[in-house]
């Protein structure tokens, strides 16, 4: 891969480069969601963040939510954010707006209590949206480099073919991309658990190795506390249907999508990497939560391999779906962008599929919508790690 591959996109005030120009309508608590929805109904160009956190989060969970929402607001694919609060919420729209503004983004706040109730608040929101729209239209694209981007890489609803086609093809892309100083995030810690020795060997930095051990041990602690056998309920019902028999099989298949390169950093959910290269983010294996975490981490595009199919998308980062087998690609053509199944019947090599992935990425970066964008699949979720009172 040539390190000088150029793309057109949006150069933000903080220096980051985005390939979309979203105007977000972001409720900072579940009670504000309906007004956010009403605003989106009248201003359909907005991107609605389906944030359903309650106001009564505390401690570490509250910090996690705050950090995730803030990083989504600061995302390079985002032009501006209209925050919707009630007035009594735990994470106030005002404080989040102040934080997001630090990255140079346009923000405005709608407060249901201050602004006179749902109808008046939504009218205010629509007027703000109109102004944002005009300003966003004036924001012209500039040239940047593909290597400036961060890719999130995910696998969901795996079958046995993923290991032969989609995952190693993505792995080839990942190796080439980090080689030109790009950044790639992988996640889903429970899946990494069963390949932990193989993964640990790829982490050279002692501090990062220790962080990896910590997130693995944390999971084991949870397993003991909740009396859950991480072997037993896994693989999930869907994976079994796809022929996957054990969690180890799933893990060794999954890790193929991360290529062979050194792992540079291990970070917590929703954080932005501080280094370039291949990064591990600690997330749950649930696709919606994992994608939300990787998006908050600044991923401009997400590659998602699947064997049984998944409709899941993400609001700020386009998700590119790659089928592990051709029957799936044909059956779920609404949801799948690329077919890696041509490797199975021998029509293509892994390298061919990797080239197709790159071509598709370049098209996506220029503005071509992925299937999940077309269908407006904008799933969003923040892990609930604490008790809600």
């Amino acid at each position: 891969m040539n390190k000088d591959i150029k793309i057109n996109g949006f150069r933000r005030d903080d220096g980051k480069f985005g390939i979309r120009n979203h105007i977000l309508v972001l409720p900072t608590v579940s009670c504000a969601f309906r007004v956010a929805e009403m605003i989106k109904e009248k201003a359909p160009f907005l991107t609605l963040i389906n944030n359903q956190i309650p106001c009564s989060q505390m401690g570490a969970n509250r910090l996690l939510s705050y950090n995730t929402l803030s990083n989504i607001g600061k995302h390079p694919n985002v032009f501006g954010v209209i925050l919707i609060g009630v007035g009594c919420e735990g994470i106030t729209a005002r404080s989040l707006a102040e934080d997001i503004k630090k990255s140079g983004k346009k923000t405005e706040v709608v407060d249901i209590e201050d602004d006179g109730g749902s109808i008046k608040a939504s009218e205010k929101g629509v007027r703000i949206a109109g102004k944002f729209y005009e300003d966003a239209e004036k924001f012209k694209k500039k040239t940047g480099y593909l290597s400036e981007l961060t890719f999130g890489v995910e696998c969901g609803a795996n079958d046995t073919f993923s290991a032969f086609s989609a995952n190693p093809a993505v792995g080839e892309f990942v190796d080439e991309f980090v080689n030109i100083s790009g950044t790639v995030i992988i996640s889903e810690t429970l899946e990494l658990l069963h390949a932990k020795r193989t993964i640990s060997l790829r982490i050279k930095d002692k501090v990062e190795k220790e962080k990896f051990n910590k997130i693995i041990n944390n999971l084991k602690k949870i397993a003991r506390k909740e009396k859950v056998d991480f072997d037993d309920p896994m693989p999930l019902r869907g994976n079994k249907r796809g022929g996957i028999s054990t969690i180890a099989e799933k893990s060794f298949s999954g890790i193929l999508k991360a290529g062979k390169s050194e792992i540079k950093e291990v970070i917590n959910f929703g954080n932005v990497p501080s280094k370039k290269g291949l990064i591990i983010m600690d997330t749950p294996v649930n696709d919606v939560l994992s994608l939300t975490g990787m998006a908050a981490g600044g991923s401009q595009i997400i590659l998602f391999t699947t064997g049984l199919g998944s409709p899941v998308g993400s609001p700020v980062a386009p998700v590119i779906k790659i089928a592990s087998n051709t029957p799936l690609y044909k059956k779920l053509s609404d949801n799948i962008d690329l077919d890696a199944g041509t490797v199975i019947d021998g029509t293509n090599t892994l390298s061919d599929v990797k080239d197709n992935i790159i071509e598709f990425i370049l098209g996506t970066a220029e503005g071509t919508e992925t299937k999940s964008e077309i269908l407006r699949h904008v799933e969003f979720g923040i892990p609930m790690t604490g008790t809600t009172y």
Partner: protein
């Protein structure tokens, strides 16, 4: 009629003792592999695994050149390999 295994199934690593069916295999299908013939003993659905050699109860199931589980029953060459005859080893495994 005998067919080369590679036409109908996938083996990821030469140390593997399981192959993955590229399309459904039927009982009686004959696959040429490693200078021998594997006779498929039962229907293997699209994407499912089958044994490339006899596997004793307690033996590791090897895929990707790595242990992915252990046999909970004796498995004959050509039989399906899935949750009914293998299980995960403990998470202390890797």
């Amino acid at each position: 009629m005998e067919t080369k295994l590679e036409k109908l199934a996938l083996v990821i690593n030469k140390r593997d003792n399981v192959g993955t069916a590229k399309s459904q295999l039927d009982s009686g299908d004959k696959l040429i592999y490693n200078k021998g013939i594997i006779v498929v003993k039962e229907k293997i659905p699209f994407g499912y695994k089958f044994a490339l050699k006899n596997i004793e109860i307690g033996d590791p199931i090897v895929k990707f050149g790595k242990k992915i589980g252990i046999a909970t029953r004796h498995i004959k060459e050509g039989e399906m390999v899935h949750v009914h005859n293998i299980s995960s080893y403990s998470i202390k495994g890797e």
